[in-house]
Point group: C2
Chain length 589, copies 2
Amino acid sequence: MYKAPVEDISFTLKHVAGLKPALDSGAFGDLGEDLVDAILSEAGRFASEEVAPLYKIGDEHGAVLKDAAVTTPPGWKALYRSWIDGGWNALSGPEEFGGQGLPTMLGVAALEMWNSAAMAFGIGPTLTMGAVEALDKHASEALKAKYLAKLVSGEWMGTMNLTEPQAGSDLAALRTRAEPAGDGTYRIFGQKIFITYGEHDFTDNIVHLVLARLPDAPAGTRGISLFLVPKFLVNDDGSLGARNDVFCSGLEHKLGIHASPTCTMIYGDGFRGATPGAIGWLIGEENKGLACMFTMMNNARLCVGMQGVAVAEAATQKAIAYANERRQGKVSDYTGAGMAPIVHHPDVQRNLLTMKALTQIARAISYSCAHAIDLARVSSGDEATHWRDRANLLTPLAKAFSTDVGVDVASLGVQVHGGMGFIEETGAAALYRDARIAPIYEGTNGIQAIDLVARKLPLGGGEHVHGYIAELKAVADEVRTSNLQGFGRTAETLDRALDDLSEATRFLQKLLADGRLDEAQAGATPYLRLISLAAGGAYLARGGLAEQNRIALCRFFAENLLGEASALKERVIGGAESLSAAGKALISA
Amino acid sequence: MYKAPVEDISFTLKHVAGLKPALDSGAFGDLGEDLVDAILSEAGRFASEEVAPLYKIGDEHGAVLKDAAVTTPPGWKALYRSWIDGGWNALSGPEEFGGQGLPTMLGVAALEMWNSAAMAFGIGPTLTMGAVEALDKHASEALKAKYLAKLVSGEWMGTMNLTEPQAGSDLAALRTRAEPAGDGTYRIFGQKIFITYGEHDFTDNIVHLVLARLPDAPAGTRGISLFLVPKFLVNDDGSLGARNDVFCSGLEHKLGIHASPTCTMIYGDGFRGATPGAIGWLIGEENKGLACMFTMMNNARLCVGMQGVAVAEAATQKAIAYANERRQGKVSDYTGAGMAPIVHHPDVQRNLLTMKALTQIARAISYSCAHAIDLARVSSGDEATHWRDRANLLTPLAKAFSTDVGVDVASLGVQVHGGMGFIEETGAAALYRDARIAPIYEGTNGIQAIDLVARKLPLGGGEHVHGYIAELKAVADEVRTSNLQGFGRTAETLDRALDDLSEATRFLQKLLADGRLDEAQAGATPYLRLISLAAGGAYLARGGLAEQNRIALCRFFAENLLGEASALKERVIGGAESLSAAGKALISA
């Protein structure tokens, strides 16, 4: 059973991702280490003791649709209630609306724990948090007054309605219509698919944020507006009014996260005799919906990255525990009676250390991204720009690298369990199933890689990323000058990886400058992995410099896994031509 | 829907894995290319048209246990009947017992197709084939006469009973007992788990091969004997007699291959009032059971490797088809109306080409292994030794590399489908689930890697593997001297990978010579991948030399994926110390 790694999380926040210096400098007012640790510890307790025990029943029962109503698995509604009663939904929400206004870092660290305990549970509040942020930034005062406090507390949940059958990664193809009703409201018509927690029994109202087109809107993404469409209309006194014309018409039968209802939502179909048209309110300006949605999406991308970290952590814990229990064979370093616990076998250790190192790296990258978001919020001028750029640079890494790690680590977790891993009762297989969605939703990892190359490498006139690499280089220098034996060849391999990264970065920037976008895109996925591994190596080293007992894992990573960097660089620099040559044969006549 | 890649299979058999020169030299008598192609084509038709349509129903229904009887999914029994009526079970069986005695290569190629169409179907006959081989090599004439013809035709199916709860990878821990009854038969008592097709309704008898210990047997693996235990006793006239005391007490609830019943088998428990003790017959000599079982296991390992190839092929086909249908976004090389099919996006092409290249490599390695088995059978003296060594060397590659490829490619397949990939109806997720067992059963891939390093590198006094590397080197030379432009940097990267392989091989051989087995084991998994990638690169190049239109994929592999070789070499050579240092922290106090 999952046990929240509170100490590891706290250490990574403070000593790797930068929270301690920020706290010491007073960047977050009077927030101190004690409070941070108290919150993490309480969140860890809730995740381990309250959420995790409901994982299996959630996976087995799944969400069930009947008569347009969705029932969540036994115990899940009570769990959600107890979770919001604990104030967990409000952790990083705006104080003006009852939130605790704590740094994103803390929200994200807690989110990791909810997701490790049950990813199908953790994904719901992620959408509510995104809705809060979008409303807080873009909605009218009237809408904020009516909806925000209840979304912040979690009394109501929020959803994001982007995808339509023909419009997934490419929102330009969106067709859902919004017609002005003449009274300041709109009538929404259309079908949305893959809507997470689009319908459920956790809360008595659900606040849908919906992308749609106005009648006179320009084609493409510049003609998309964002609307708030509540399941139940809300009276001025805050009580619930009429049922709105938005209904769940189907649930997807998914590989994993079964307890999370993935809904097809029908807007404005006159369901059950309603006058056709779901009543909605515009958020922000007409035709600027995508910008509003991006507020949500950036946040959501980091949150999905946390799911990658979370499932990797859960899989790693489970595999280490099993490897210490299961006995097979003999091994020279085990002197006990009978067969050795398989954790003594070098090949099993290789799997477990790989899982552990990748999990820690993904966590460090994701927390660093959260930290940048926090510092951008509390700083101003050039410093704010710097941290905003940093957050933007790290978001695709946090999303894509972490979720790839989630899949790979969950797969290794099954492997370590041997035959038992393939049996559903063991639980390792469920993590392998759950993990698979995270590289897909909130922008596939391929889209993240393209975003990284095409939009993030140019930040700060192309210099921001080099500043980041220089910071990572400084860590390698520090390892070298530390003269700590246990680091082995860490400084050397890290230097080499960072040089490779630097070279690959300049190569891609040159392609972009020359307008050779296809070639740059061809190298995007290996580049994202390259920068993530190199950064991860530096983060592990920073951890090792701060705490002696973390050096061995850092060295394992540097001497066993970081070597991939040079192959990735070659792929970025020398791979596009052959890709293009071979790719043509894939296209049907 | 899966369409058997008959042309690709035929090409790989003939021009990459060595079938054509062998046919030309008359190694297989009057077997000619025409017959080979006719068989492949008919097998392909059966797999695509008869097996594949029953995949989904098999996955959804699964096998069901009631009153110790297992019912396979609707249509599956009839499918099996029609499959054996087509003579497919007898393809490579011994002619003396009604088999067609065709080369293993052909059996394996057909097996790939059954498994691509439905892995849960393909695994059943795999076990029967293993039983046939073990009986043919080790059983008494009386047992052969009674059982072999019906196993060869497929009228009865066979099983392998090795695993017990405490004895998985380590068979020394086996507890099942066999007591001599004094009449030449034995009574078997014990519990076996994870028994594939241990009970089912395909055939009216099932022939279990069971590992058990005689009362006076030495401890460990030198005290294990192999027994034949039929579900129904067989009268001398071949008719079925009494029900034997062996029953299925449970089915596993698995991640994938749901239609394949994975049984807990209880031997000798006096079930339903039977006199306790399952009646069995000794196969081969007392206490030599493991050697007999290894006959089966080597074969089964290659067959499981084919499952890796098979699922990768199915996933690749599905992903390419989807990428040609699904339209999202714009891309410069697509000039058609509306959004471009996603196959035009370079990042999608990278995924698809990676899938395609890895699948072809795994296929080439596996067929080369089958070819070596065939040539060992038809040759004698040094030549036979050479080919036996080759088969032994390639077996762990065929099993472990191919099944890792199966998982990785199925995962990429889900990714290419985007959100649809996570929906079970699409079918990509089912392949991802099915694929996951193959790296585990028939010896985990970690065990395969250790087998490769500890038992296969020493073959031929340590020289066999270097001879193999020299053959691969010759392919690189041929590419270079061919002066074919399309190969790009293939010769150069292949040479480099083979040099890395050579160095890593000598390093591990030195460790073995020095008795440093733990360190050698620490490098086993990266070594297995290194030799597989290097060999795979050479096989793709051989294909490209034989057929112009195969050059582009070879080059993509060489310039994009083969670069991993140098990192793998470093891991083999420089990774053990840090692994050992960090590994200790994994062990619970």
